[in-house]
Amino acid sequence: METTTRKVIKNRVAFLEQKVPGYVSVLGITGILLLWELVCRLNIVPPLFLPAPTAIVTDGWELISSGELLKNLIASLYRIFGGYAIGAIFGITVGLILGFSKWADAIFTPIVYSIYPIPKIALLPLIILWFGIGEMPKIAIIALGVFFPVLINTFSGVKNVDPSLIKAAVTFGASHVSVIRKVILPGALPTIFAGLKLAAGTALLLLVSAEMIAAEYGIGAMVLHYGNLMITTKLMAGVLILSLLGLTFNRGLQWLERKLIPWK
């Protein structure tokens, strides 16, 4: 008589589904902050090299309450919004033109692609020569940094609109203007937004670099100022504020995206 053995089948991909409780993240961040604070309190690392989180927050608060932060923030915001708006508007416009006109495409796209890899900050000296050392060059460098990714995304957004949508529109009698307005523009919008989001990071980076080179006020100038003075807690507070600025900028764009592209 044969004996039969039973082999129960077990889930061999259980490891993929392993769950980590939600509080771990919170605990993780808290733990790291506590550890950091402890390292500083016990003077394992000198406070000059690594200021304690509480010290950073305290100094950050001081920057806020003394109005110093506001002054610098306003200077930076003015530049970043100005530059971003100019760069984005031009980028979208030129991107649309290149996307729609095959002639413009053939002539200008190679030029765009050869200017694109230049780190825009290298043009700052030139821009200072052209525009002087006031607000203009800072706004211009940000605009330039924003212009290219937005242009290229707009262009590729227009080029990559699903051709079957265009064909459908044409079959249902849409005119050229209608196709552009009702199909190509909304179809390119998600890609344009991707460009705008990419450009936000670049804008912030260029802002800080530009302010480091010739500015009295601004978050970048402030960070460099405290770096020069070796007041590291305030420097870190400035960096913290930059991180928040970046986060807010990104969130704002995400919010706008959800508003403008509800169908995604």
Binding site: D162, S164, L165, K167, A168, A169, V170, T171, F172, G173, A174, S175, S178, K182, V183, P186, G187, L189, I261, P262, W263, K264
Partner: protein, 257 residues
């Protein structure tokens, strides 16, 4: 209104700059209220032909024309396999797109939109965006969009091939019901032989390399109820005939990378 395809030939230039003859010597017509189905193996040029008829591609030779008694420009409705609903428009806005482009008044758009949305069974989903619909529902919206312009010729390129087998069966039945109410001249492309026999007044069988008409088979069965027991053997005979015409080509197509 009658559609005539006359001596159509189409040559493509492929990525290696070689000329590829996709269609050759295509001649047929679609009569008023006729449902013509194009079948053929993969790559035989079904979509190319449909696009030429729809004015989405130029033929290299020959022409396609509408014969009609009035001077009105013919209107077309089209349904794609990829559905091609505008993702940024609600179901209602998609369905009434063609009317909008024809300058139809808002009131009439609302009426017709409602009517055709109801016809395809999407009442209640007027405000939904395409991403909120299942595959079958999207394709219904696509059909409503094509019907809403009350076209002189309805073009459908494998509309159901992305759906699962059961959904496809249901949709075929529904399409037939709708067609029976609207009686639009239709050019329909499919891979599926059963579908072709089930829907067609005439089946045009294409062969490949280059695509040309192998045979035109009129389906002499009543338009409604072809799946009944009594027509089964005749249905099978048509299917087998077409399959025999295509089989070799289809096996070849499968071998192509």
């Amino acid at each position: 209104m009658r559609v005539v395809v006359e001596n159509v030939e189409k040559t493509f230039v492929d990525s290696k700059k070689n000329e590829v003859l996709a269609l050759e010597d295509i001649n047929f017509s679609i009569e008023k209220e006729e449902f013509v189905v194009l079948v053929g193996p993969s790559g035989c040029g079904k979509s190319t032909l449909l696009n030429i008829v729809g004015g989405l591609l130029s033929p290299t030779k020959g022409q396609v024309y509408f014969e009609s008694s009035n001077d009105k420009d013919p209107t077309l409705g089209i349904v794609f396999q990829e559905i091609a609903l505008f993702p940024w428009r609600s179901v209602f806005e998609n369905v009434t797109f063609g009317l909008e482009e024809r300058g139809v008044s808002k009131k009439e758009r609302a009426e017709k939109g409602k009517h055709y949305i109801e016809m395809v069974g999407l009442t209640g989903f007027e405000a939904a965006y395409p991403k909120q619909l299942s595959g079958g529902m999207k394709q219904r919206a696509g059909i409503a969009r094509a019907l809403a312009v009350e076209p002189d010729l309805l073009l459908m390129d494998e509309p159901f091939s992305a759906l699962d087998a059961q959904t496809r069966t249901i949709m075929q039945e529904e399409l037939l019901t709708i067609w029976n109410r609207t009686r639009l001249s239709t050019l329909y492309v499919t891979h599926n032989i059963q579908e072709a026999v089930y829907l067609a007044d005439r089946v045009i069988v294409l062969s490949r390399h280059p695509g040309h008409i192998k045979k035109i088979i009129p389906i002499e069965l009543p338009k409604i109820g072809r799946d009944q027991e009594k027509y089964r053997s005749q249905f099978e005979r048509y299917s087998n005939e077409i399959w025999e015409l295509i089989r070799h080509d289809a096996e070849e197509a499968l071998k192509e990378a």
